[in-house]
């Protein structure tokens, strides 16, 4: 169980969020978030819906704007400059709840589009990379199909491969298994586990507590826009400190 936790975590800081605040109109969604992620860390973010988990990781690649505080990704401070944002986005991969594959492109084209246009990699090379990652997520035979012809689990694995084709240094997962049938959840989680074993820096918003125990080296619990508790998974699950965390864990682990 603890094998993944023994993976190397370097001292280098990959993401540094300090004093981040965000409002939707007058609603204070994220309150004073402070988070340092070291390279190679696998962090699972849990919490009730509406607690700001997704919003927080979406701030990291500027899909959401934060109004206060400082976010530093890979040594680059996130500013409102478009070039700066595009640079950070090309280094940070993101996997969405609803896959968000491009339905008008084949699987292979989905995977090669960004490397070709953003990284300016020759088409041949991009296709070779794409096939490499499609093999890694175990669906190379689907390369010439369209997303609509694949099952949900397959689509989510393509989405992971698509992100990996950009060779990101950090991966963000926004509830990657919430829209999947139970049978398909496993194939996606397996892919994520193997990614973690290779030392990818990962931030996962997920309700898969088994995955958190197995893979994460840190679990963060959020409620009402704040980080309420964070700890190593062992301690987090067996010995939660905050009342809200205890309630949450008792509810989701109760059955």
């Amino acid at each position: 169980m603890a094998q993944a936790q023994e993976l190397m975590v370097s001292d280098e800081i990959a993401i540094d969020i300090s004093n981040m605040n965000k409002w939707y109109g007058s609603f204070h969604v994220l309150r004073d978030i402070n988070l340092k992620v070291r390279r190679g860390e696998r962090i699972v973010i849990a919490g009730p819906s509406g607690s700001g988990k997704s919003t927080m990781i979406r701030c990291i690649n500027a899909l959401e704007e934060h109004q206060q505080g400082r976010i530093e990704v890979d040594g680059t401070v996130l500013s409102s400059d478009v070039k700066n944002i595009d640079k950070i986005r090309s280094e940070v991969g993101m996997v969405f709840q609803h896959f968000n594959l491009f339905p008008h492109l084949t699987i292979l084209e989905n995977c090669t589009l960004a490397p070709i246009w953003v990284r300016k990699i020759p088409k041949k090379e991009a296709e070779a990379t794409a096939m490499h990652f499609l093999e890694k997520v175990k669906i190379p035979e689907q390369a010439n199909k369209y997303p609509g012809q694949l099952s949900g689990g397959q689509q989510q694995r393509v989405a992971i491969a698509r992100s990996l084709c950009m060779r990101p240094r950090i991966m963000l997962f926004d509830e990657p298994t919430s829209a999947l049938d139970p049978e398909m959840i496993k194939e996606v989680l397996d892919t994520m586990v193997s990614l973690a074993e290779e030392g990818m820096t990962m931030l996962c918003v997920t309700h898969e507590m088994g995955f958190a125990r197995q893979v994460a080296n840190r679990v963060i619990f959020m409620d009402a826009g704040q980080i309420v508790e964070q700890n190593e998974p062992e301690e987090f699950f067996n010995n939660p400190q905050n009342e809200r965390t205890k309630l949450f864990l008792s509810q989701i682990l109760g059955h």
Partner: protein, 432 residues
Amino acid sequence: MSDAHAHSVAFVRTEVIPQSPPPAQQTGVMKWLRDNLFSSWANTLLTLVAAWLIYLILSAILPWIFNGVWNADSLTQCREILAGRTGACFAVLTERWNQLLFGYSYPRDLYWRPVLAFAIMLVAIAPVLFFDLPRKLLIVTALFPFIAFYLIWGGPILTPIVALLGCGAGYVVFNRYGKGNFAAGFFGGIATAFVVWGVGGFVVDLVRPETPWMTPVPSRDLGGFMLNMMLGVTCVSLSVPLGIVLALGRQSDMPLIKGICVVFIEFVRGVPLITLLFVASVMLAYFFPPDSTVDLFLRVVIMITMFSSAYIAEVIRGGLAALPKGQFEAADSLGLDYPQAMRLIILPQALKISIPGIVNVAVGLFKDTTLVSVISMFDLIGMIRGPILASTEWNGVYWELLGFASLLFFVVCYGISQYSQWLERRLATDHR
């Protein structure tokens, strides 16, 4: 065997039942007739009534068409030949076909020029419509406007060449600087094009030959169905890109751009096309310097393009709104910049959704080109209402002429509609 089944619930099939044809009553023409025409006594009654009505209509129309007179000099002569029988007087078409197609003052010996332009147009639009064709054909598409201009209007060959050079220079500048800074490339490109056109226009005037190779034909001599086709093709091909720009502008975060687009769209949509055409023919002259002669054709093209681009912008906005937000986010999260995200991800999908709407506007626009007859341009309808029906020979030949006009428009519009349905099937990759 049946005994065995009676005693136990368990069942294992040991042989496959061979395929057999369905009963004769349930297939073919008989079944279709029974299901669709004679399924009940009420349906049978309706079928008989409908058949009777169809007979009535056809019995009136068919003799009219088949007794038609194709050779006569005037309506009076037609009637003499028919001698009281029902029959159409198609002679007006054979006698006036050139006026119907080219207008009444386009020089007769130059008809080959618009016909050639039409033929080249078919080649030029093919790679745009059918993207499986070799991409090299797009060169023809890019050159077509200049070739067509030269063929139809004639005049010194330098005019289209200067126009082409201006576009080329603008494109080069845009390509050079547009990558780093889109706005700089865009406005720089436009400025360069205008500089080239200005200097070129001066040169063209300087070396204007006494007798150019191609006899110049002024815009007021254009007419007939040719004019409708020219207006339709020009305005559709201009208003789709303009509509895309307006739709994107309306979604823009920049208040100035958004404001301009919203005001333009709402204003133009709120005004009848006829009004805009009158503005083009009468009012616009007041806004230009007194000695400048902006061509009436150009003025009408500008107005119709403005009008339909506002509609197309709204259609495309609908397509953009129909795209899930996740597509924008996925494109963003991969680090694509705005032009890339739009060109590669958003517009291909939004335009696909918008195809029926765009085609709807395009078909409407094409038919609306007949409105120019109101501002005394002699398009197909203008020719029919004016010179032909007003002539002593053909006064009163309504059905044949308007039927012919309807047929021409129907063929083109039905073609567009069929094409769009093919395109939708071709682009369907969502496998719903």
